[in-house]
Amino acid sequence: MSTKAMSQQLNNYPRRGTGNTIMKIYQNFFKTLRLKETSIAVITISTVLFFYSLQPVFLSSTNVNTLLSITPELGIPALGITLLMIAGEFDLSIGSVFGFTPLLAAELMSTGIEAELAIILALLSSSLIGLIHGFITVKSGIPSFITTLGGMLIWRGAALLITGGQPRYFRIQERIANLMTGPLFPFINAQLFWFISIMTLLWVVLERTRFGNHIYATGGNRDVARYMGVNTDYVKIFCFILSSLLAGFGGIIQSIRLGVALPNQGDGLEFDAIAAVVIGGTSLRGGSGTIFGTVIGEFLGRIIENGLVIIRAPSYYFRLYIGVVVIVAVILNFYIARRVKEGERP
């Protein structure tokens, strides 16, 4: 619901006295702050202005285009784990699946299988990987941190084993390549289109369907969810599958864009993605978070990475800055959430 609609509802409620308008402004202020994305959006805009003030090239059309074509392939996996983390689970294996999936597709293509079919089979495999992680986690009751830490090592190991550590060419017909990474409109390439489509779809699922309600409930309080008839195991397994599938999809897009599948592709991606999700306001303990928060968090990560290059700072600063941003953003979210609670308490 929009802030406007919320405040309208508030106005219908008879709570009146002097200082009416001030009270309203005060409440609306907290309503806006309550949107978890607010603080991170402010940080992101400030960061953009910071880089722009140091080096105007940062907002040149070439550079904006670069940002918009790199962000989707790394952002799509982050969208996937957002749902999983809201459901209260982790996936450390997405970086490895991001590397393994395109290699598997390349391997299949080298046996003469059509590119489309090879990609579809590889994506099915990455879904199966998610199913395995989810099934083991749910049925054994061990933390998903452990299951997917194992998965992270296993699938990276498998990628190295298949290739003997050598890169594989990822050359496919232009028709299919354009479908995944081709230019559509100025500033809008196919991967951005995919990113926005998946973002929209997941937003609808999360915020406007019964299943989304069950995801929030599963992560928020599994016992309540179960008692109210939600099949929490099914919810979690589905989210594991989604996380793995989207990691694989991001990997495929990157390989098509680069024309190569690297065995160490996506190394460390899980941490960047989790950072983006957490920066975007999703709770590590599950139960709350938003898709848009992740999108902004992901863009912030890429903006910092790219901006540092543009201002010619050593790229080693990247991890350092992201680390600082993670801590600052989470403290800010935490602080705002507490203030909002106090401001709202009836």
């Binding site: 509802q9 709570r15 309600n213 069950h214 928020g220 309540v224 008692y227």
Partner: protein, 248 residues
């Protein structure tokens, strides 16, 4: 009502062992329609075992349960819920991070068809939950506010209003006023009496004899797995109940 005027629920000769512990030793227990029954007793008296059997958490080793005159057996809490018996445990009634409307309809969300997909009808969920909350006497400005921003008593109110909306017949309230302030407790007691007006029966499990006395029609006292007292409120006093609980 399908089965005329017998009790809503009747538990007959209930026995339960946990290993060597003989937790319930032949308890008979019933609740009439639109009746509030206080279930009291010291720790280990068997209160929570009895209500867990009634809410389908585990079966009795010996004994029978009749609901609306029909013999029933529960394999899981879902079976009890299907019949209209809902248990509100203190901590597991609502999901704190979710808003009121979403909590209210959790597992039974209202949807609308939009082409090939079913989407949540949030507007209706908000309206309906707001209406039910008001019916129970709980005024909330914004049902899209997370439940964690509510006080303990208000959270109980949300769970109770939900039970009313979904036409529950029997509510089992497990220590509903624990950890609540005096004012908040009064509010919860008020909610329960509203439910009674709506024809919903409640079992009120508590340590607090004063709370239960103020609201119950009848008080049942358990001690060491046996029923040692079953009084209409008008035939007894707070002091007498306390004596029963302490002495036995």
């Amino acid at each position: 009502m399908s089965m005329g005027d017998g009790p809503l629920v009747r538990m007959v000769n209930i026995h339960k062992w946990f290993g060597k512990i003989y937790a319930l030793r032949g308890v008979d227990f019933y609740v009439n329609r639109a009746e509030v029954v206080g279930l009291v007793g010291d720790n280990g008296a068997g209160k929570s075992t009895l209500i867990k059997i009634l809410s389908g958490v585990y079966p009795p080793d010996i004994g029978e349960i009749f609901f609306e005159g029909r013999r029933v057996s529960f394999k899981s809490p879902r079976d009890a819920i299907e019949l209209g018996i809902e248990t509100l445990y203190q901590d597991i009634a609502v999901v704190p991070q979710m808003d009121i409307a979403r909590n209210f309809f959790l597992g039974r969300e209202i949807t609308k068809q939009l082409g090939p997909v079913k989407l949540l009808n949030l507007k209706k969920m908000v309206q309906e939950s707001l209406k039910s909350l008001e019916a129970i006497g709980l005024r909330i400005a914004d049902p899209r506010m997370p439940v964690e921003n509510l006080s303990g008593g208000q959270r109980q109110g949300v769970a109770l209003a939900r039970a009313m909306y979904f036409k529950r017949k029997l509510l089992i309230l497990d220590e509903p006023t624990n950890n609540l302030s005096v004012k908040e407790s009064m509010k919860v007691l008020e909610f329960v009496s509203r439910l009674k007006e709506e024809g919903i029966s409640s079992i009120f499990v508590t340590h607090n004899i004063h709370h239960v006395y103020s609201i119950a029609d009848r008080v049942v006292v358990l001690s060491h797995g046996r029923k040692v007292g079953d009084y209409l409120k008008n035939d007894t006093s707070v002091d007498e109940i306390i004596r029963m609980v302490v002495s036995s």
